[in-house]
Symmetry: D3
Subunit: 160 residues, 6 copies
């Protein structure tokens, strides 16, 4: 048992953009881990709506002053990024049963490739359930007001 060691979790995603649902998951995970690395997968970069740099800045602004939250990005396999960061935990938020099926497949494959890394799942609150980045992008693209689906501390127009 390594319970004296620092508990580091990676929270991977494309975060294009980072939503109020994502924010809620990280906030709720703060009491569970000692460090949370929010990590933007580079595969998500091509055809992105927001640039990598703007996504990172947006997330940094949301968690300004909270030292245990780091922002990073990676290429390659998620489990390799975890290992490089000494993270033994993969943090995931689940919203729906469809999410769950997908997350289970990913988690089981990651477990097969890196048995020492545990996937930990938190649920979004009911109000956040319908929010995902695809839908938020769609609202922005169609000129709608997406502010209630985004972290309240930021103005999305500053990152475009």
């Amino acid at each position: 048992m390594k319970n004296n060691e620092k508990k580091i979790a990676v929270f991977p995603g494309s975060f294009d953009p980072f939503t109020r649902g994502h924010e809620s998951i990280v906030n709720r995970a703060l009491s569970l881990f000692d460090e949370i690395v929010i990590a933007i997968g580079a595969n998500a970069l091509k055809d992105g709506f927001f640039t990598l740099e703007n996504r990172k800045q947006m997330i940094r602004d949301v968690f300004k002053g909270i030292d245990m939250v780091k922002v990073s990005h990676y290429e390659g396999l998620t489990v390799d990024f975890c290992r490089k960061n000494n993270a033994l935990f993969l943090l995931r938020g689940i919203r729906t049963a469809a999410d769950f099926e997908y997350e289970r497949a990913i988690a089981q494959l990651n477990k097969a490739m890196a048995p020492e890394i545990e996937s930990v799942m938190l649920l979004t609150t009911p109000e956040m359930t319908p929010i995902n980045s695809t839908i938020v992008r769609d609202i922005i693209r169609n000129g709608g007001d997406a502010s209630k689906f985004l972290p309240s501390s930021i103005n999305i127009n500053n990152y475009r």
Copy 2:
């Protein structure tokens, strides 16, 4: 942030009986928490297949020598039991999408009643996915050999 405080999780269930799937969830949660209280819900007692005392003994035997795992039982609401035990986390294992729908409802109600308690979900490994206590009881009742679905360290016949 209370990250210097002891991280206590309650793992509630009827555990009639405690299966290899349950064992796997607890083992995987050991690196995440400082103490895990396996708590048998008293509502599950009536019409039980194994007695409360035998279920508790069985679980104690599985985790013999692991001090951070406690075994208990409770009546009333799960969140009230958590509060009495200073547990800020509810540990749950999810196997299937159907499980997930049910667990989400329970977790959201618990959150409404006790906002300070977080439900943390771990996935069972693929081999454990089909195992639940109902099916294990059914095998035992029909004279089948359920040993490969039960913790390998115990002999189920000692608890009947």
Copy 3:
């Protein structure tokens, strides 16, 4: 087309008890129909937690002053009750994908038995999603405070 006729919907259920989720469905259906008959299925009476009369009174109190909402009960098939009430619509609230599978089976069978009756489904709001009567009864039985899951205008203790 009979669009000048009165649009009557039956909202069937056991309502043991009537929750804030049920209330929300009826309120949202008010603009769609001319009359809504909230109908307690008699099959739900045996082993009920609240008596039939108390359930009816509770619902009447929730919709006091709203003439287009009626409260009734029935035995036998739901479609037969609809026909006796000249109702061409069956109103149903759906919360989860599991609900949906069940509701689809019921709706398709009703359609086979009474092709002129249409099942109309409304979604519960996200905050209501985890609430169902079983869970509410469980909270009450365990001495918990279920008031935030019940219509705000009533005091559940008046109906026991």
Copy 4:
């Protein structure tokens, strides 16, 4: 309560092409609403199999003589189109549990952006359940006979 007002529903989709399943939903909604606007989302236009004009003509031909059915198209958010058309209802057909999860997310977001608009869901009949536009396009593309999945009153070859 505005029950004397005209009940207008928007039935949005890409309708590429309009299938027998879509036709069934509209026919069943005729007794519920006073006007149904079948609205082709402009986002669906790019990479479409049928042109926008052909899709509109096809739908107009299916509902020839039924004045309460209108055909239109729109760009931007669906809720904005509803408001422009004084429609308080969004009509949706649901086929499967997977559909349901998606529709729930969309409906909840629409509700957040336009609380006065209600999503109303009807079920497809069992025979229509497997039909969706993607599969119908696939059959046409592969030279198969899709006629039994399309409205019986039209010949799909007239719209290509």
Copy 5:
């Protein structure tokens, strides 16, 4: 490979009563197997709506003249019954995603206990999807006409 051997499948269930959906599964499996044993699980007997003998007679009447269909019943584990009958296949009909989750758990446990037995799944036709024995019993109990959900060759009143 034992492909010259007789392919025997067991079709287990409570069949209380045998529905048109069950009939459809057996008829479609006739071209796949050399013998199909329809086997009523004895656990399903207690609190049954139809007696075991009436259920068996009903199924025999449905498949009168088709020698490759046998009717039987069993106690104990399904895989033990298969072995006694030299059946290497378990035939199952699936209707919904909820069915699937349950069937997968059962199939995987059976595989763990009897690796030589394969579960083979056929889909019910869309019209049969909503039919299950529970719902059919409910209709009969409430005085409704269940004939369109039962095999067309039999009169359910002859078996009560």
Copy 6:
């Protein structure tokens, strides 16, 4: 009944690449059919990761020496390919509830177009559940070791 006739099944897919899960389905189907035609759909060719010829060679190598397994490819509708090959069965492997919903739609449409062809579904073993070709390609693309998700008899690097 044509039970003396050769039972031929088509196992269609894109197989880009053929995984250990696919291999498991074919191996389990060997006792059920007299011939299994593994058929690569030509629609899957464009944007493929492995070439058609390499995919075919890989599958041939996996089933070397097993004469009843054939490897082929086709354009157009799957049911047309079945008819050309006198195959009365379509073999499908199902992993998850999401798979099931999709497979049911496809199977029901195929049944509508070719009523004589039966879809037969086998379950993947729990260890194979998370594996699909998309995820395997993703691992290979990111430089990970996918060998435990691929048939053990082949070396994936020989086919690139």
